[in-house]
Amino acid sequence: MSTLTLSCPTPAIARDHVSLGHGSGGKLSAELMRDLFLPVFRNPTLERMDDQAVLQFGKSRVAFTTDSFVVKPLFFPGGDIGSLAVHGTVNDLAMGGAKPLFLSVAFIIEEGFPMYALQRIVDSLGRAAAACGVQIVTGDTKVVDKGSGDGVFINTTGLGVVAEGVSLSASGARPGDAVILSGCIGDHGIAILAEREGLEFESPVESDSAPLHGLVADMLAATRAIRCMRDPTRGGVSSSLNEIAAQSGVGILIEEQALPIRDEVRGACEMLGLDPLYVANEGKLLAIVDPAVADRLVEAMRKNPLGREARRIGTVTESDAGWVRMRTPLGTTRIVDMLAGDQLPRIC
């Protein structure tokens, strides 16, 4: 019989390098923001840590945002890096209740990138912008050495105008508020994964990449009692809800059985051991609203093509502040934690 030796694996790994986890929208990203960027760039607007900055210019409130797109593969079912860039930026503005107006687009292109592919991306970007009613008013192009990029990276900034009386912030959630989700989760992340890994679907899963400003406008027309909105992109629904819980100092309790998810996405997640709460979405939003208007709002959302599967998925609570919990089908609750880095498929 062997001696049972007390031993432990490893000392903690020092944080002296940036890792992929720092860009995945989870805990490491939040840490980087909190420990590196915020202390240097300190100002009240930044500290609100919303997806967009709402700035006062005389009588108008302007929403201002920036985003970078590094998706691989560049082309995937339901979109490409070009359309994604427009939708993602428009959505960041829309989450602040802004009407998106102007975009800037900066390309960082790897030397040797095929011109026809660039044309495809630019065409797609242009079409998406036109469909959203936004103009690309300025831009930039840089080319880097072969091997220094991933084909193409796109950075954008977006400008929009927030109507009077609209004030949305991740710190606005109150105990008792309803948590509303606009539709099925996990489509984008699974579509990307399927494209990368060659998964086959009976009815192919497409990215849900879409501009949400129209849906938001419908929502604001139905009620102004919306505290905040977030689009659950990288890091999934979990990241967004955790951010809101942290910013507002509240708890959030969601119902597992209320989460809408397509069969194919569910099948893919089961197969790969992925939790759909952490999978990226690019055409969905979460809204925290006054419970009195929840039903009315869901009804209004369902009239919009991008909100057909909208429903209430949970409630903001006073207890367990800072935590997101989920009630399982068995009636027990467990926490929905923020992931440290990217969710990796597992065999165990």
């Binding site: 679907f201 009976e202 089961e270 068995l330 065999i347």
Partner: protein, 100 residues
């Protein structure tokens, strides 16, 4: 350990001496190696782990034990329905939720 997922065998093929199957998991199809389940036929359910089917689900066995469980479940629900409704009046999960 051992994430293995049950799926339905839709078709079998032989490609370069490999017996492969197309298995469906709730709407997604994946190519799976069938080396370890020579007895599996189209229409069977197999358990898949890291791209290989490791067993053929015994449907009769599953049916038999499941019916037993269902019967227990129905009996329980009938007996407990009165308390459950009361205890879970304001729970969104309703009387379906499992309680201690």
């Amino acid at each position: 350990m051992c994430l293995a997922v049950p799926g339905k065998l839709l078709e079998t093929q032989v490609i370069s001496d490999n017996r492969l199957g197309v298995v469906e998991f709730g709407g997604i199809k994946r190519s799976v190696f069938l080396d370890f389940v020579p007895e599996a036929q189209v229409g069977d359910y197999v358990l898949v782990h890291v791209g290989f089917a490791i067993s053929r689900i015994d449907e009769q066995e599953a049916q038999r034990t499941y019916e037993l469980l269902e019967r227990i479940g129905m009996l329980e629900t009938a007996e407990a329905s009165l308390d459950a409704d009361e205890a879970y009046a304001d729970s969104p999960g309703g009387s379906d939720a499992v309680h201690r």
